[in-house]
């Protein structure tokens, strides 16, 4: 025989004002199995809790129901009290008779009847509740960071400096991401390489960081605290330990392909170093472009001239398995594909560039050594048109969202152009100027007032080439006049898109994506660095367009969240998870198919629950045709009794 106690709270007059609490307590006392029932003015107060503890001990109660406010407020309070009196916390249930009853009704007799039903339903539930202990699993105290841009670098350094081992995986041959391609950064005009390369070196030298470049995550299994990842390490055919960066190999390599680092403005050889400060400092033989390596008869020129014998054509792809407790995804962005901007002649006219290409022209280590020259004829452009929102804020044709950083970098581009070409003229077409941020508005003002950049509010309708000039047709909506500019160069502030391959990666990691393909955070306000998957965190432009300071802040936030997991010896998990009754299970696998967490699998023809992955949602319960799978402490039996109680009387 169960021995349940019921405790009805007045909550001052909050409950007692519309619910006859004494009557509720009396009615509940009549139910079989309820051996104690009383009311008190404030159950959550110290005397109230003492009263509960005392009753549990004196009446030898094995379960209790507290009829009071929402479980969100005091479930923990009363479960702790139950625990102190010697019964398992899961044998305490809350009947919400305030938010869902006394506060929303005025008719006292009817509210009292409803409160009685709610409390009765809780009694029926608690009678069948099992005593449970939180599930605990040990934590693998290492982290994986995916993406070696500024966000990944920051997150990896923060984690490593907190004392945890980090594996930093980057798919290209060097870390640095897009930030290392930039010339100077707004609004302070710090040289991007000057502020980033020290961090890159720190990553490569850090004893806690295992850097894996030219590598991709192939597979992720497991759960928070215990992930298993498979990382594909592609062959670079060059041993970084032996490579002395003498550059002899590139001089003899006969293959020239567009250089990704300069966005096609220059070429590179099939064996190359992406940029002189690359980390790791070594060459990569790109086997997609070296025509012979797949047939194992490489032309051999690079190996012939390599004095330290660093080149090894026999390197093979390797799959490395690692175990980690937390994962930070910082896969960054790519610019909106130029093929999409046909109206702006992008890809058709060599002097129509995107923002990153212009960054390369501005860069002292870029293809023109920091001189602004037209790619077509290497002449200095005297009239340059910058077009903002190229692909952004255009729901009909392109991306609906604002890419956030373009107003600022366009202002920077126009300013730096004027610093390089004093007699030149810069025009900026804009829809709005969004310069929220510390020192940002002042920076834009400076561009207009000190550097004489002409801002034209309106969109550009067409760009075409005429007699060596790029003619820009636009509209100045403030004066209502049509504008025609015979420009020498046009720079498009292309929209930011999630980096290529982000979608496949999201699938591998079981991360959610928003409608634009950026990785979705767990809550837009309160959990901005957590993903929907427990133990995986987001940083940088992979989550939404953002500038460097925001990316760094989010990366540090993600690292701090990861530390919360890694700093624990064991992780605890709610034990109200699914359980299979083996003799009812037919092994049909329907529950396996619907589980949102991949917590179910078939083993020996029966469904099996991975208790650590299971979140207890119960979708499997509703799917099972034979009621063979139930969530502990909210079984179909319990719900049936609760329904009966809700309708009774």
């Amino acid at each position: 025989m169960k021995r349940t106690g019921v405790f009805v709270c007045h909550c001052g007059i909050n409950i007692a004002g519309t619910v006859d609490v004494k009557k509720v307590a009396e009615e509940l006392a009549k139910h079989p199995g309820v051996v104690h029932s009383e009311d008190y003015v404030y159950m959550c107060s110290d005397p109230g809790q003492n009263l509960i503890e005392q009753a549990i001990k004196e009446k030898k109660l094995d379960s209790i129901v507290v009829a009071c406010c929402s479980p969100n407020l005091h479930e923990t309070t009363f479960r702790n009290a139950a625990n102190r009196a010697g019964i398992n916390s899961f044998r305490c249930e809350i009947a919400n008779i305030r938010e869902q009853c006394s506060w929303v009704h005025k008719d006292k007799p009817r509210a009292t009847r409803k409160a009685t039903k709610i409390a009765h339903s809780a009694v029926e539930k608690v009678r069948q509740n099992e005593s449970l202990e939180p599930l605990s699993v040990p934590v693998t105290r290492r982290a994986l960071v995916v993406g070696g841009g500024i966000s990944g670098i920051q997150a990896a350094l923060d984690l490593a400096n907190s004392g945890f081992e980090v594996i930093l995986v980057e798919r290209s041959p060097s870390i640095g991401g897009h930030m290392i391609q930039l010339s100077e950064t707004f609004p302070t005009l710090d040289c991007s390489q000057c502020i980033l390369t020290p961090k890159m070196v720190e990553v490569s030298k850090h004893p806690k960081i295992k850097l894996m470049t030219y590598s991709e995550v192939q597979d992720v299994t497991g759960y928070v605290g215990n992930f298993k990842v498979k990382i594909l390490k592609k062959p670079t055919y060059v041993d970084p330990a032996k490579c002395t960066l003498c550059d002899e190999c590139t001089k003899v390599c006969p293959i020239v392909v567009p250089n990704e680092f300069d966005l096609g403005l220059t070429g590179r050889r099939a064996i190359y170093i992406p940029f002189p400060q690359a980390i790791p400092a070594s060459y990569t033989l790109d086997d997609k472009n070296c025509p012979d390596i797949s047939t194992t008869i490489a032309c051999g020129k690079c190996a012939d001239v390599c004095k330290p014998k660093a080149i090894d054509y026999d390197q093979k792809p390797e799959v490395i398995e690692e175990e980690v407790g937390a994962i930070i995804v910082a896969t960054g962005f790519d610019l909106y594909e130029k093929e999409n901007m046909a109206e702006y002649g992008f890809g058709k006219y060599p002097d129509v560039l995107d923002g990153l290409q212009f960054e390369r022209l501005l860069s002292a280590s870029g293809p023109t050594m920091g001189k602004i020259l037209r790619p077509s004829d290497h002449k200095e452009p005297k009239e340059v048109v910058f077009i903002q929102c190229s692909g952004s804020r255009d729901p009909e044709n392109h991306c609906a969202y604002c890419s956030k950083i373009c107003c600022m970098y366009t202002a920077k581009h126009a300013m730096l152009y004027k610093h390089h070409v004093h007699d030149g003229q810069a025009y900026v077409f804009y829809i709005d100027i969004r310069s929220g941020g510390k020192g940002y508005e002042e920076f834009v003002q400076r561009t207009v007032e000190e550097d004489g950049v002409v801002y034209l509010r309106g969109k550009v309708s067409k760009i075409f080439e005429d007699k060596g000039k790029i003619v820009v047709w636009g509209m100045d909506t403030l004066t209502g006049k049509a504008i025609e500019i015979d420009a020498d160069m046009v720079v498009l502030a292309q929209a930011m898109r999630p980096s290529k391959g982000a979608q496949e990666l999201a699938k591998k990691f079981k991360l959610a994506m928003d409608k634009d393909g950026f990785l979705a955070e767990a809550h837009p306000k309160l959990r901005p660095v957590e993903s929907v998957t427990s133990g995986m965190f987001l940083a940088g432009a992979a989550q939404a367009p953002k500038d460097i300071p925001e990316a760094v802040a989010q990366a540090s936030g993600a690292a701090a969240k990861a530390v919360v997991i890694l700093s624990q010896e064991r992780l605890f998990h709610a034990p109200t998870v699914a359980r299979v009754t083996n003799n009812l299970c037919t092994g049909c696998g329907m529950c396996v198919a619907v589980c949102p967490y991949d917590a179910l699998s078939l083993k020996d023809g029966k469904a099996e629950v991975n208790e650590v992955l299971c979140e207890g949602c119960g979708t499997c319960t509703a799917t099972c045709l034979r009621s063979a799978i139930q969530v502990k402490n909210l079984t179909q039996h319990q719900v049936a009794e609760m329904i009966e109680a809700c309708l009774g009387g």
Binding site: E99, V104, T621, A622, L647
Partner: protein, 140 residues
């Protein structure tokens, strides 16, 4: 004059959105009729067709299932399963002759105390003219 018919309604509310929305209605002191007795479930996806039949069998005049808005499920996609499954239940109930108004589904977020209040008010109003449900009710 006979006492006005007061329908008895069971509401299955998901813990994360609809139950929290119902709490918000309380905190905001909104008023709605006391005909509904809520049962908190973890997810609308866990609401088995059995629960709905069982409620009607035990004498419910109406059953409400409410979860997070599509796309907002705390458990990623439980409410999508609920939507598909319960639409079938609704069709089945209609097929066996139950008035379609007696079973309702609604997506109520934790911020929608007003919506919860309105859903309950409308539900009670729609059920009153139908009178007691006897089609699926077990004979005492």
């Amino acid at each position: 004059m006979a006492e006005e018919f007061e329908p008895r309604i069971v509401a299955f509310l998901c813990k994360w959105c609809s139950s929290a929305g119902s709490d918000l209605a309380g905190v905001s002191r909104m008023e709605y009729p006391p005909n509904v007795v809520p049962i908190q479930v973890m997810c609308s996806g866990s609401v088995s067709p059995l629960y709905i039949f069982s409620a009607f069998n035990k004498g419910a005049d109406g059953v409400l299932v409410s979860g997070c808005h599509p796309g907002d499920c705390h458990y990623i996609k439980g409410n999508y399963y609920a939507r598909r499954r319960l639409n079938l239940v609704k069709q089945l109930l209609e097929y066996i002759g139950l008035e379609p108004e007696r079973f309702q589904m609604s997506w109520i977020s934790a911020a929608e105390g007003t919506k919860y209040t309105q859903v309950i008010k409308d539900f009670v109003k729609e059920l009153k003219p139908l009178g007691p449900q006897s089609k699926l009710r077990r004979t005492p």
